[in-house]
């Protein structure tokens, strides 16, 4: 007999889906700003090639990028603060935040499993160990983006913050690196959602999932 079960809380879903376009707009407007002084590269990989800027119509839009970035920063921060508060007060953080060192060992097992290198999965509750690490890290990264962003936005008024990140240029480098990490997170996240299938995706929109009684694991 199928069981219909609520998986994701209303608040979790709203904050997640509001954050998605906000972060997208922050990255997009950030790219419009970055174009004006595109300095970073790793070996031969240059961030970013000219064809990419041309393809996305990025050049000569610094003023527009700054105006968009410095409006959406407010919404990004407000939504992030609300999400973290909600997660703390609802108790949902217990499922999300790694609570022992074994989480890291289990996360490695999950990675091996997902790469088809290991058959069984470690026991889990709502989120597996790799998810716990990823979903906690992304919140810490969000806070990191806000702080490094403030450090390069107001290096005189918040000079202590700029100094904390090793100065103006280091803070800019961290701010950029975090953005690249979001893109990597996004690629893995979307791939995992596709692999997990419709029932999982639907639960992030509607909140509910269908579980067949015989498939239930003892932990759930």
């Amino acid at each position: 007999m199928p069981i219909i079960k609520e998986k994701h809380l209303l608040g979790t879903r709203w904050f997640h889906w509001i954050n998605f376009p906000l972060l997208f707009v922050m990255i997009w407007s950030g790219l419009l700003i970055y174009w004006a002084f595109p300095t970073y590269k790793i070996g031969p990989i240059h961030f970013f090639p000219q064809w990419l800027y041309d393809l996305l119509n990025v050049p000569q839009r610094l003023a527009e990028g700054m105006a968009i970035h410095f409006f959406f920063m407010w919404l990004f921060v407000i939504n992030g603060v609300l999400y973290v508060s909600y997660t703390v007060f609802s108790g949902e953080w217990r499922y999300l935040v790694p609570q022992s060192l074994s989480t890291f060992r289990h996360a490695w097992s999950v990675v091996l499993h997902d790469l088809r290198l290991r058959r069984d999965l470690p026991p889990q509750e709502k989120y597996n160990a790799a998810q716990q690490i990823a979903y906690t890290a992304i919140v810490v990264m969000g806070a990191g983006s806000v702080l490094t962003g403030l450090a390069i936005y107001k290096p005189a008024q918040l000079n202590w913050l700029t100094a904390l990140f090793g100065g103006y240029e280091m803070a800019r480098m961290f701010h950029f690196t975090l953005t690249v990490l979001y893109l990597l997170f996004f690629a893995v996240h979307v791939w995992q959602v596709i692999v997990a299938g419709w029932n999982n995706f639907r639960s992030m929109v509607s909140g509910w999932e269908v579980v067949n009684e015989e498939e239930r694991t003892p932990a759930s």
Binding site: I4, F37, A63, E64, M66, Y153, N159, E213
Partner: protein, 260 residues
Amino acid sequence: MKKNERRHPELSLPDTEAQRLIRHKTRRSFLVGGIAALGAVGAYEWFTHAPAPSENDIPWPQRRVLDFNGRLSEAYLDDKHLMATYPPDKVGGVKVNGNFGMEQPLEPENWKLQVTIPGRAPAFLSLADLKQLAKTEITTRLSCIEGWSGVAHWGGARFSEFTRNFFGPGQPVPPYVYMATPDGEYYVGLDSKSALHPQTLLAYEQNGKPLEERRGAPLRLAIPVKYGIKNIKRIGLIQYTDKRPSDYWADEGYDWFAGL
């Protein structure tokens, strides 16, 4: 587990009933999500395509946001908020990024600084007059709005001290300062709080030598609490004013405050 039952309800239902219920919940949530997404796209379109206050400006909602951020930053700014300073051997990386307002060659013998204050006759100063004021030297960062930055060693008179010569103790200074090149082609608007900040100099020396022409000789503004665009070169006019002055790059869509 028991405690979570209420928050994470489970419904055990016959097959067809379960299918019907989950379809209903799915349909409703995707509908709400779709409407919310359309609303968000509409709001973004409005924010990025609303009319601009003037020809080269950004849409007015964006201008309002930048001005709001600027007022907030100005209210928070304090004379104790200092841009980091460096030892003189860290000097380097300051590019010459524009010569707006300096297309005609400088004629040092004809240069003079005009200072205007509401309700008073304009004053005209020479470089020698400025050198009467105590000389301050500072090695600090010049941050371009494009994202690059460099370290420069400036020598000149504190703008706050320069101002004190026109406004006695206790006499209020107008809230804004406007500066322009002699030909008026380049101009900046400043809030007085930033202009009177202790690191703001009317500089006539860079890296221990008199300013080069391309660096803004004979007199330029070194205002580390603002982006490079406000560090106007070859100043010909300083105007204390009660009305927020126009600004070259703000007219082109950039933040008027442009403060760090």
